[in-house]
Amino acid sequence: MAIATQAGAEGRRPYLRVAGLEKRFGSFTALSGIDLTIQEGEFVCFLGPSGCGKTTLLRAIAGLDPQTGGQIIQAGRDISRLPPAQRDYGIVFQSYALFPNLTVAENVGYGLVNRRMKRPAIAARVQELLAMIGLPDSGPKYPAQLSGGQQQRVALARALATSPGLLLLDEPLSALDARVRLRLRGEIKELQRRLGVTTIMVTHDQEEAISVADRIVVMNHGHIEQVDTPDAIYRTPASLFVAGFVGTMNFLTGTKSDPGRVRLGALDFRVAEDALERGAACTICARPEDFIIRNVGRDTPNAFEATIAATEFLGPVVRARLHIPTLPAMPVVADFSLNAVTDLGLASGRAITVALPPDRLRLFPGAPA
């Protein structure tokens, strides 16, 4: 399932390997058959709907809620059975869990104090970390005197203070408002790149995952659906679930006919990939931006007539809801550039001819859930 890595992590050595991991709570299986390899210095996001087991997997890696089966190997060391204190990671929780009665400096230096470091060395390291997160003067303050975003950065500095080999982040941004979240995710990514620390971030915000991750682990119902670069996840989703979960997707359900062809109601679609048997129920996935409207002629593959039912202005593009007379039961959305809208006078009620290039389409067996 995991398609070859394409991003910068290539050629590096594997840092964390999770093999056959399983976690059960009583009779409920929260994770099963988790296999995952993370390269050194990679930034990986666990993405999935609520309750799919992201936090459970992260906490198993941290040793906080040990798995019920399987293995975890970090930097060549089998840590499967090690208590948290003997593993090598820093962690930031959604709540930050800053110690409220300790100053920012004491929080950041918390893990340094019992490492036989000299006081001046600790102070210097704390100052360095505070400067790194852009809060050089906040050392004497208490956490309650900081904004949410600042608290988040202090928690990050505390987790990084001991220079751990692995940084774990459980929805670190979800308690913040949208604007701060946007800024901070950039900062986290930048910091991670600078320090080169292998990082796993849990999120259920796909946009966040796409913007920061080298690779995304898409999870559903306690198992991994796909591990890939954001680009590949978006362009070549490995399953109907991934196709529907990441970005906007049109699902066209039909029946497999001749090789390279799918029957959609009265339409006959050409598709690039073809591993299904004749007569099998299948679904074609198409992104809204893959519709072409200029230079569509009779001989253009997968061309069909439609009426614009409604339009929605999204800035650079206009999203149109299309009514396809030959496929009345399948509402479809298509994005058209503002240029095309102006040039062609696209508006509600217009009848148009559009096409979906076969090489952009993904074909899956079955129908979406």
Binding site: Q86, A97, Y110, G111, N114
Partner: protein, 561 residues
């Protein structure tokens, strides 16, 4: 896959987890020895004859067949029922005034309502003797009835139980959702109807809980009937008489087991009520802020002032009684009654014993309770639930029963813990056990408010959990810790029911001295000792308010934004 330990750390040994497990096991063992085993020994004693042979229900049959003993049950039920009927409505109105009206001086009124908690229960009884006794100041008000008996017991119990009921009902009434009232008002409901359709139903759990608590307090209190009961026997004094007077341990055990029944019922109701009450006030409720209403506020103030006057009047009577040279013949005032050596062989020593015992209970008890609650709340392993359950048991065990259980258990021949019998240490252990539940719940509530990930964070930073416990958990919970310590101290100072069975000549306590001096007719000295105890509790309580103000400002600076 090769197992490679890096950085010289030994893999596989989770030191933190083992220390926590050991801690949980230690607390579990302590509670088992200090609560469950003694209770078991009293239960089994009630099924044995004098020689220790099992006789089934024979003792119980004999108990119900003895008219005087069976009468005590009816007597106990009667005074408990009467007291409940009187206290709960009074406390409800008082609590209503404090929470739902705009009476002036709420802090002061709330403080006055709590005054009886600072006294041993003998104090109101002694004061009542001075007011309504054979030579009482206002005994005409009784229209010829005697104060020695049910009337005196009920009056004393009303005083003694009032603060407990007010506390419960204040909590119940402050959990009001303003939106319910706004809804009722917008529908044009009149005030009377609002009271009966919104206020009363929302307080019904509190009322149930207060009724059961008061009922149990009266059933199991020993100090008031022993002073003012006269020939009116109740269960609590029966236990004492059977055991101390007639050395009939088996019958004492039977009465004790019977005494547990109302306490157990009250405990179960209280637990149910607590669960309901939390659900009653959702996170989205809007707290009700009372609006001024001149007529009602004035009436409420008059009521509260009258109640406050009676409370302070009873306390004042006790103080007056302790200062008068020889009531009613020599009314000159002085401190002669405070020279306890003239009335009791132990003199002031029992007071110092009490002080020592209360201090040790507060210090050791707070440390044990808080650590135990921490391990239950943040630890791992199945033992935690066991500790939590055992911590709940003392709330359902009256002090008399616990004290007697300690006699049976620690005095039993062959018990390796027998060396504790007769020591101050045993008094401390017994008192901590007696008041364990409330202290445990206070600690648990405080700990639940901490971020659950503190331990995970310190583990990830390879800081042992006990360091975080000392550096973060304890300082953050300091207000609750002080609360627990004061609660244990005040109760240890005033309690009589459990310790009366296990004190010795060397470890006699002030509360026991009060009972003894009263028994021997030195009622003024008994009043004086009760006043000294009350003054001590009050001083500690006041010191708490002052010191914790300063201390908290110093140590809780981080709370400020």
């Amino acid at each position: 896959m090769t197992v490679l330990a890096e950085g010289g750390r030994r893999p596989g040994i989770d030191r933190d987890a083992w220390v926590m497990r050991a801690g949980v096991a230690g607390i579990a063992l302590a509670l088992f020895l200090a609560i469950l085993l003694p209770l078991w020994s009293i239960l089994s004693k009630s099924f044995e004859d004098r020689s220790g042979a099992f006789v089934g229900l024979a003792n119980y049959v004999r108990f119900f067949a003895t008219p005087s003993l069976a009468d005590s049950i009816l007597n106990s039920l009667f005074v408990a029922g009467m007291t409940t009927l009187l206290v709960v409505p009074l406390a409800f109105v008082y609590a209503y005034a404090l929470t739902r009206t705009c009476v002036p001086g709420k802090k002061l009124l709330a403080g006055i309502a709590l005054v009886p908690i600072l006294s041993p229960s003998m104090l109101p009884a002694i004061a009542l003797v001075y007011l309504f006794g054979n030579q009482g100041m206002i005994r005409g008000l009784l229209l010829g009835e005697t104060i020695y008996g049910p009337i005196g017991i009920v009056m004393g119990q009303v005083f003694y139980c009032f603060p407990h009921a007010v506390l419960i009902l204040t909590t119940a009434l402050s959990l009001a959702d303003a939106r319910l009232y706004e809804a009722a008002q917008s529908l044009g409901t009149n005030r009377r109807r609002v009271f009966f359709t919104v206020t009363l139903p929302s307080a019904k759990y509190g009322l149930a809980s207060a009724s059961f608590v008061v009922f149990t307090l009266v059933m199991t209190d020993f100090g008031i009937p022993v002073v003012i009961g006269g020939r009116f026997n109740v269960l609590a004094t029966d236990v004492y008489k059977q055991v101390m007077g007639q050395q009939n341990f088996q019958m004492g055990a039977v009465v004790a087991v019977i005494l547990v029944i109302p306490a157990l019922a009250s405990f179960v109701v209280d637990r149910l009520v607590q669960r309901r009450q939390v659900a009653l006030l959702g996170a989205r409720s809007v707290p009700l802020i009372p609006q001024p209403q001149a007529g009602r506020d004035r009436a409420m103030l008059a009521f509260c002032a009258a109640v406050g006057f009676v409370i302070l009047g009873i306390l004042g009577t006790a103080i007056f009684a302790s200062l008068v040279k020889l009531w009613p013949y020599n009314l000159s005032l002085g401190f002669a009654n405070y020279i306890f050596d003239d009335y009791d062989a132990d003199g002031w020593r029992s007071y110092w014993n009490s002080l020592k015992m209360a201090a040790a209970t507060a210090i050791i008890g707070t440390a044990v309770v808080f650590t135990g609650a921490y391990l239950v709340e943040k630890g791992k392993g199945a033992g935690r639930q066991v500790v939590h359950l055992m911590a709940m048991v003392p709330l359902a065990v009256p002090g008399l029963v616990l004290g007697l259980a300690y006699v049976f258990f620690f005095n039993a021949p062959g018990n390796p813990l027998g060396f504790l019998y007769g020591t101050m240490a045993l008094l401390v252990i017994c008192t901590i056990a007696h008041f364990y539940t409330v202290a445990h719940l206070t600690a648990t509530t405080a700990l639940k408010q901490l971020d659950p990930e503190f331990e995970a964070v310190s583990a990830s930073l390879q800081v042992p959990f006990w360091r975080t416990f000392l550096k973060v958990t304890v300082p953050v919970c300091l207000p609750a810790i002080i609360n627990i310590a004061i609660y244990l101290f005040v109760n240890a100072m005033t309690t009589v029911s459990a310790v009366i069975f296990i004190y010795t000549a060397q470890t006699k306590l002030a509360s026991v001295a009060i009972v003894n001096m009263n028994d021997s007719g030195a009622i003024a000295a008994a009043a004086a000792m009760a006043v000294v105890v009350t003054a001590t509790s009050a001083t500690v309580k006041l010191a708490e308010t002052l010191v914790s103000g300063v201390l908290l400002r110093r140590t809780q600076r981080w709370r400020a934004r």
